[in-house]
């Protein structure tokens, strides 16, 4: 068991996945998302709405290597991606968290221990941070911490 951190960024135009976390093609372990942050590196005024939603199939993206919190742990089995050129396939209505925020206020969410969002051991299953709307699209930076 290890704890890993991933981060990604993208312009948060509606329906853009900023960061996705997926099981590999042959899933090995459950993934548990316990932390999420959403902010920006651009100072401007824009409110935004996004969701953390279940994915059944990963999209096409630039891969993000999960960083281990404990150097003694091995590499994560999970895969992650940012800058999607083709969006993941989301499972309808399976919204695990809604994020309503403002560009100038970094949003952070911490799950209580044992209350994380679980991704079952199912090939390619995952969760993605998908933008729903932004008053004026901006570069959004999203971080997630997960355990596996």
């Amino acid at each position: 068991m290890g704890v890993y951190f991933i981060d990604g960024q993208d312009t948060n135009t509606a329906s853009t996945t900023v960061l996705a976390l997926n099981q590999p093609a042959s899933a090995l372990k459950r993934l548990k998302v316990g932390y999420l942050s959403a902010g920006s590196d651009v100072s401007a005024d824009s409110a935004f709405e996004a969701v953390l939603q279940r994915i059944s199939t990963a999209g096409t993206s630039t891969s993000v290597t999960p960083q281990k919190r404990d150097p003694a742990d091995g590499a994560a089995s999970a895969v992650a991606g940012e800058a999607h050129t083709s969006e993941p396939t989301y499972t309808a209505n399976e919204i695990m968290l809604t994020i309503n925020g403002h560009q100038r206020a970094t949003f952070q969410w911490y799950a209580a221990p044992g209350r994380e969002v679980v991704i079952p051991v199912t090939n390619n299953a995952g969760v993605g941070y998908q933008s729903i709307t932004a008053a004026s699209a901006f570069n959004q930076i999203v971080g997630m911490e997960f355990e596996e």
């Binding site: 399976e94 809604t98 206020a105």
Partner: protein, 101 residues
Amino acid sequence: MSIAIHDSTREDGAVVENGRQVGRTLLCPHCGGHFHSIPGSGKKRGWCRACNKVLCGKASCLKYCIPAEGRFEYAEARNVQNQKVIKKLEGRYPNIKDLAF
């Protein structure tokens, strides 16, 4: 101490903005998702008497009591085509197929 009329004794997640906690989330026992719980909002989300927990309010979560753990096990059994576990879960939760993710 006042008597809570909402499920205010728990906090499954904390929402922080600019370093300050501004809200909390609860975990839905049926879908395994978190939702923002705002005491006094007047939102009716539903309560499961079997799970003894407040639900997120999603139609599928209100319709059936299929705990998230059952759904994860079902997804995992289908992933490796474990027919024994698939049959067992379909027997216990006849509508579990409708909720596959």
